[in-house]
Symmetry: none
Subunit: 421 residues, 2 copies
C-alpha cells in the first residue's frame, strides 16, 4: 500500500514556513505499515493542486493532503477538489452550525467569509474539526482514497487521530499490509555524538537491522532505533535487545525515550521522591521554571521561582550578600550557592536550584567569558555548584544552561534515596 | 523561470527528520526571482529518484536536489543520476584527494566506503564541499539544469552560497529573468483571520499583485505581502503602498514586521519610554519573563520576576492577602491586581505585569473553566485587569496568556507618553 502526502500553501513553497505536518503524518503512517513513496508541496494555485491530485491519485493508494482549508481567498483546496471531481460545492448544515457555534462560544459573530468552510464537494465525506473552523474532507481521487486535513498542526493532528487513523488501520488490515515499522528514540545528555559513536561501535553501521541513527541539539543527543517486521511483535522483538544494549552501554546518560522531555523526566523524579523545588534564575530569565511548569500537575513539586535579573534583585529578594557580589561578582560560585540555598530556605522546599551566568552577546570579559554559567543545587545534605563554559550565541547558551541545570538535578535525584526538608 | 526542489532521504519520507533544506532553498531562490512550483521528497530508492528526475526535468527549468550523496549504500543520488543520463561513474582525482585529506586532518584514515563520494557521472560538473566529504554535482536533466547538493544543512548552505547562487544569478540574468520578489510580513495580535479578511477585502484576492497571504498561530495572525518587479526598487514601489494600506486599516493591531517578535517590540517600547518592569506569573510559570529576557540588553528594562505558582508563594512573596485568595480565589481579578501592584511596589519599577489563570488540563470548574486567565497591569496612573477565556490545551493557553499580557503592555506603552515611578 503506497501513500503520498501533499502539503498545500504558498508559505511552504516560498520557504517562509517549514512544513512539519508531512514528517508527523509520515511517522504515523509508517507505524501502520503504510509506505510513503513521496511528499509533495505546492503553492496556493488551483491548477497546481489539481495537477498533483491527478498524478498522485493515479500512482498511489492513499493521499493525505494538508492546508488550504481556511476561510480566505488563498485557501483553494476544496475548490480544487470540486473541480477535479467535477462536482459542485454544497453547504453542509451541521458543519455550518458548528462553525457558527465556534464563534458564538467566543462571543463573536461569524464573519461571512467563514461560510465557505462548511461547503464540500457533493459526494465527499466531512471530517469534523473539534478545534477550529476548518472541517476536513474525505473523498476518492482517481484510484486513491484521499483525506484533506487542515494545515494548522494542532487541528490536523487531532483530526487525524480521531477520524483518519482508525479508518486507515482497518483499511490496511483489509488490504493485507504485512509490514510494520517501529521506532524508538533514546535521549541522552552529557555526551557528544562522536563519543556515542565510539561507545556504540558497530551498532551504528548502516547495513544493520535494526538501524540506529543519531541527531544532536542543544547539548542533547538522540538515538533513533528503527525496526521492521511482519507485525508489531516481530518488530519489537528485534528492537528491544538493541534498546537494552544501548542503555547498558550509556547508563544514566540516557534520560528518556520517545516523547520524554528532560524537564518532564525531572518532574517525574521529583514527584516520585516527593521532593519540592524552588528555582532562582538570572541569565535564563524564567526559562528553567517555564520548562518545569510545562507539565500538568507540576504545582505538586514546583513551588516558586525568582527571576533575579539584576544585582539589586538578587540582594533584595534572595538575600544575596551585597559584599559577596562586590567581591566575586554575580556570576560566581559564591553567588550561585547563595541563590540556590536562599531560594530553598525562603520557599521552604527540599531543593533549591540556581542558574547565574553570562548569556551574551555583551557582558563577557577575559576572566568571565560569554557562556560562563554557574549552576547551584542545594538540598538538606549537600551544596553543589558547577562551573560551565557553554558554546553558542545567547539563545543557545540559555537553552544549554537550562538543560545542564535540569541534568544536575536529575543526577541528584537518581543518587539520593532519602532527603527531607 | 520555474524551479523544483527535490529532497532525497528515507529519514524524510519516514518523517524522522523534518526537512528544513527545502524551505531554506526556496527563500533563496525566491529572492532571485525564481518561482518554486513544487517541493518533492522521495526516499532512498533509485527508481523513485529517477522517476522524479524525468518528471521534474521535463516540467521545469531548474532542479535543486539535496541528500543521498553520503558514502553508504543508502546514498543513491549519484547512481540514479548516472543511470538516468546513461553515463558511467568516473573517479574525480581532486575530489578523492580532498576526501582523503578531510580524514587525515582529523587523524583518521579514510574508510574505503568514502571513495564513492569522489565518483561522478561522466560529463557532469563537480561542486566542491568545503565542510564535508560529499561534493555536489551539476548536470543537465532533460530541459532543466540540475544541482545536487548534500543533505547536511550546513554543507548544503555553504555549497549553495559559494557555488550555486552566483551561477543562478548569472543564468537568471541571461535568461532574461528580470524579476525579483520582495516579501514583507506584518504581524498582528488581537484580531482573528476572518476579521482580517473582512477588513482587507479585495486586497487578499488571489489574482492581485502584490499578493497578500495570511497565517495564524497562538492568537497572532501574520500577513505576508509578496511583490515582484524587474528590480528591487520596482518591487518595493509596488509593495509599500499595500503595506501602508494594511497598516492604515489595522492600526495598532499590527505590532511588528518581518523578524520582529512581540516580546522584542514590547522591550523596544519599554526602552524607548525608559520604563522598567517587574513580572508576577502564576500559570505561565516563567514564560513571560523568559520571552522578555530573550533579547540582549533586556536587563535595562526587565528588573525581576516572581513565579508564584502555589497560593502560599503568592501570599509569602508577593503579599497577596490570604483572605482575598480565600474569598475570590487565586485566579481572580482581585488577585491579578494585587500581584501586579505588589510586584511593581516591591521591585520599585514603573510597571507591574501579572498573569494568573487556569492552564489546565485540571483545575477548571464551571465558574472558572480551563483557559480562564486574568492579566493585571499596574503603573503609577492606572490599574487595569482583563479577564480572558483562552482556547486550546495547556501549552496553548500558556502561550496565548503570555501573548495577551505582552499585548496589554504594548497598548499601554503606546497610550502613555509620560509615566513615572
Amino acid at each position: 500500500m503506497k501513500a503520498v502526502i501533499i502539503s498545500i500553501g504558498d508559505e511552504l513553497v516560498l520557504g517562509q514556513t517549514v512544513d512539519t505536518n508531512a514528517a508527523w503524518l509520515s511517522e504515523e503512517l509508517a507505524g501502520l505499515g503504510i509506505v510513503i513513496s513521496e511528499h509533495v508541496t505546492v503553492g496556493d494555485d488551483i491548477n497546481a493542486i489539481i495537477k498533483q491530485l491527478q498524478r498522485c491519485g493515479s500512482e498511489t493508494d492513499l493521499i493525505i493532503a494538508t492546508g488550504g482549508l481556511g476561510p480566505t481567498r488563498d485557501d483553494l483546496t476544496r475548490l480544487a477538489l470540486a473541480q477535479f471531481l467535477g462536482k459542485p460545492l454544497q453547504l453542509h448544515e451541521p458543519s455550518f452550525e458548528q462553525i457558527k457555534q465556534f464563534f458564538q462560544q467566543r462571543d463573536r459573530t461569524m464573519p461571512q467569509v467563514n461560510r465557505i468552510q462548511a461547503m464540500f464537494p457533493v459526494g465527499c465525506e466531512v471530517l469534523e474539526n473539534k478545534l477550529g473552523t476548518a472541517p476536513g474532507i474525505q473523498g476518492p481521487v482517481e484510484r486513491a482514497m484521499a483525506f484533506f486535513l487542515p494545515g494548522v498542526p494542532r487541528e490536523m493532528k487531532e483530526m487525524y487521530r480521531l477520524q483518519v487513523k482508525g479508518k486507515l488501520q482497518r483499511w490496511a488490515a483489509a488490504k493485507g499490509v504485512q509490514k510494520v515499522i517501529i521506532t524508538r528514540t533514546l535521549h541522552t545528555i552529557g555526551i557528544g555524538e562522536s563519543d556515542i559513536a565510539e561507545k556504540l561501535g558497530k551498532m551504528m553501521d548502516r547495513n544493520r537491522h535494526p538501524i540506529v541513527n543519531c541527531t544532536a541539539a542543544d547539548g542533547k543527543v538522540s538515538l533513533r532505533i528503527n525496526a521492521h517486521g511482519a507485525h508489531d511483535v516481530e518488530a519489537l522483538c528485534l528492537l528491544e535487545p538493541v534498546e537494552r544494549e544501548i542503555k547498558r552501554r550509556l547508563g544514566n546518560l540516557v534520560y528518556g525515550k520517545d516523547d520524554d522531555t528532560l524537564a518532564g523526566v525531572v518532574g517525574q523524579l521529583l514527584r516520585q521522591h516527593k521532593k519540592t523545588l524552588a528555582a532562582a534564575e538570572s541569565c535564563t530569565g524564567g526559562m528553567l521554571s517555564k520548562e518545569l511548569t510545562d507539565m500538568p500537575g507540576s504545582s505538586e513539586y514546583f513551588k516558586c521561582g525568582w527571576i533575579v535579573y539584576g544585582n539589586q534583585a538578587k540582594i533584595d529578594f534572595l538575600n544575596v550578600d551585597a559584599e559577596l557580589i562586590e567581591k566575586y561578582g554575580a556570576v560566581s560560585e559564591e553567588a550561585a550557592r547563595q541563590l540556590a540555598g536562599n531560594a530553598r530556605r525562603l520557599a521552604n522546599t527540599d531543593l533549591g536550584l540556581a542558574i547565574t551566568g553570562i548569556a551574551g552577546p555583551d557582558g563577557g570579559s577575559e576572566d568571565k567569558p560569554v557562556g560562563l554559567v554557574y549552576i547551584g543545587l542545594v538540598d538538606r545534605e549537600q551544596v553543589k555548584v558547577g562551573r560551565y563554559i557553554l558554546p553558542g550565541e545567547r539563545a543557545m547558551v540559555r537553552r544549554r544552561a537550562v538543560n545542564t541545570a535540569l541534568d544536575v538535578l536529575r543526577h541528584r535525584l537518581i543518587d539520593i534515596d532519602q532527603l527531607s526538608v
